[in-house]
């Protein structure tokens, strides 16, 4: 096995081990993260226009699983309930974030501090992408919950079914994203090593 391959295997093993440790939905963490995510989504993800239609995300007191927040859509100005649907923040936010965290730990353990800048850039971009993904997810759930059936809504629905709904994608998508973001840096590092 070449040294490069050895490093790759080490990277994969550290990544899997760290992710398994971080991603487990610890009950106390679930409650805390659910609250933080509700607050974060209400103040950071939603824009003023969104909040005029979707006033807030509320915690759903579902026993055994603390990661759901319930989105409520009201009819204005009568304030009657129009639609209500659950968002699994573990699947849509926490797990992808932990994939990035595990990738950063694995990167540090394998490549040392050489990739520190890549890690920072990756984390910044990852947060932006996650924000976009969550906005997209909420938009899709919103149009789906209100039974919109135009071509754009159908497109959103298919993308959601193919990319957001399968549980494996919560792990695979950040992994692919990280690979694409750090590809250039890895290429440069290899070129520097080979002279």
């Amino acid at each position: 096995m070449t040294p490069g391959r050895k490093k790759l295997w080490r990277f994969v093993l550290v990544f899997i081990f760290t992710l398994a440790l971080l991603a487990w939905p610890y009950p106390f963490l679930g409650r805390a993260c659910g609250s933080v995510v509700c607050w974060g989504v209400n103040t950071w993800i939603m824009t003023a226009k969104d909040t005029s239609d979707v006033p807030s995300l509320e915690r759903d007191p579902r026993p055994g699983y603390d990661w759901y927040v319930t989105e409520v859509v009201w009819n204005r100005p009568t304030d009657s309930l129009r639609a209500k649907f659950d968002v699994d923040v573990h699947q849509t936010l926490y797990l992808p974030l932990m994939v990035f965290a595990a990738l950063m730990v694995a990167s540090r353990a394998t490549f040392g501090n050489r990739h520190f800048r890549v890690r920072l850039e990756t984390l910044g971009l990852a947060l932006l992408v996650l924000r976009a993904m969550l906005r997209f997810y909420l938009l899709e759930r919103w149009t789906d919950g209100l039974a919109h059936d135009g071509p754009f809504d159908m497109f959103l629905h298919v993308v959601q079914l193919a990319v957001a709904a399968p549980r494996g994608m919560a792990v695979a998508f950040p992994l692919i994203l990280w690979f694409l973001l750090s590809r250039k840096a890895l290429l440069a590092a290899t070129a520097a090593r080979t002279g």
Binding site: R5, A20, P25, V158, A162, G168, T190, T194
Partner: protein
């Protein structure tokens, strides 16, 4: 100079081992050379293969339609396979359609339970990786059943958890199982590409053109 004479001259030069035009295809792999994984072609081709397949499989087809019925039949086959394995340690298991029912627990195999998204991503990654077509097809033919086997193990473990440690079922189903499947796909992919490197080093078989950095 005629074409035949030119070919004869080229063959003679190649036999001496002194090709005047060294190509990427003839270069042996160097330990420090950039992997084809890092080239731009690999992610682009993989995305071109994976996106239509994902859209095709996950499109919300009408219930009772031809495609939906076929997908249900395929899931029923999957359920029978999982039921056969589960039946080895629980003799009361009955499979009806896509539902596996036992004395202690029942579970239904739905569209994402077959880990199709991971299968499609693995298929796309292997198909996009630069290697000869024959080896590519062989890798796919070995990798997809290996991943299906890993998924059957996942379904059996989930059934066992559902029957004996019900509280852990959701957590394992939603967190550990996806990590296990993606990790399995990653390891299978690395093994498939490792075989390629070892064989190409051993037999001095020509490597296909890839974006390598100059050294």
């Amino acid at each position: 100079m005629s074409r035949e004479a030119r070919h004869r001259k080229q063959r003679a030069r190649a036999a001496k081992g002194g090709s005047s035009k060294p190509t990427l295809e003839a270069q042996p792999s160097r330990p420090g050379a950039a992997s084809p994984l890092l080239g731009l072609r690999f992610p682009l081709v993989a995305a071109l293969i994976a996106v239509p397949l994902l859209a095709l499989y996950f499109y919300p087809y009408d219930d009772g339609g031809a495609i939906s019925t076929r997908i249900q039949s395929y899931l029923a086959v999957y359920a029978r396979a999982a039921g056969a394995v589960v039946g080895l340690f629980d003799s009361h298991v009955v499979v009806k359609g896509t539902t596996i029912s036992g004395s202690l627990f029942s579970m239904q195999i739905v569209k994402t339970c077959d880990a199709m998204e991971v299968n499609i991503l693995l298929l796309a990654a292997i198909a996009a990786f630069p290697m000869p077509w024959r080896r590519r097809i062989a890798s796919v033919l070995l990798a997809i059943p290996a991943l299906a086997l890993a998924n059957l193990c996942r379904l059996c473990v989930l059934y066992w958890l559902g029957a004996h440690i019900r509280d852990s079922f959701d957590r394992v189903h939603q967190t550990v199982a996806p990590i296990f499947m993606v990790a399995s796909a990653l390891v299978i992919f690395l093994l498939a590409t490792r075989t390629r490197q070892r064989k190409s080093r051993g037999s001095h078989e020509p490597l296909v053109a890839s974006e390598t950095t100059p050294s």
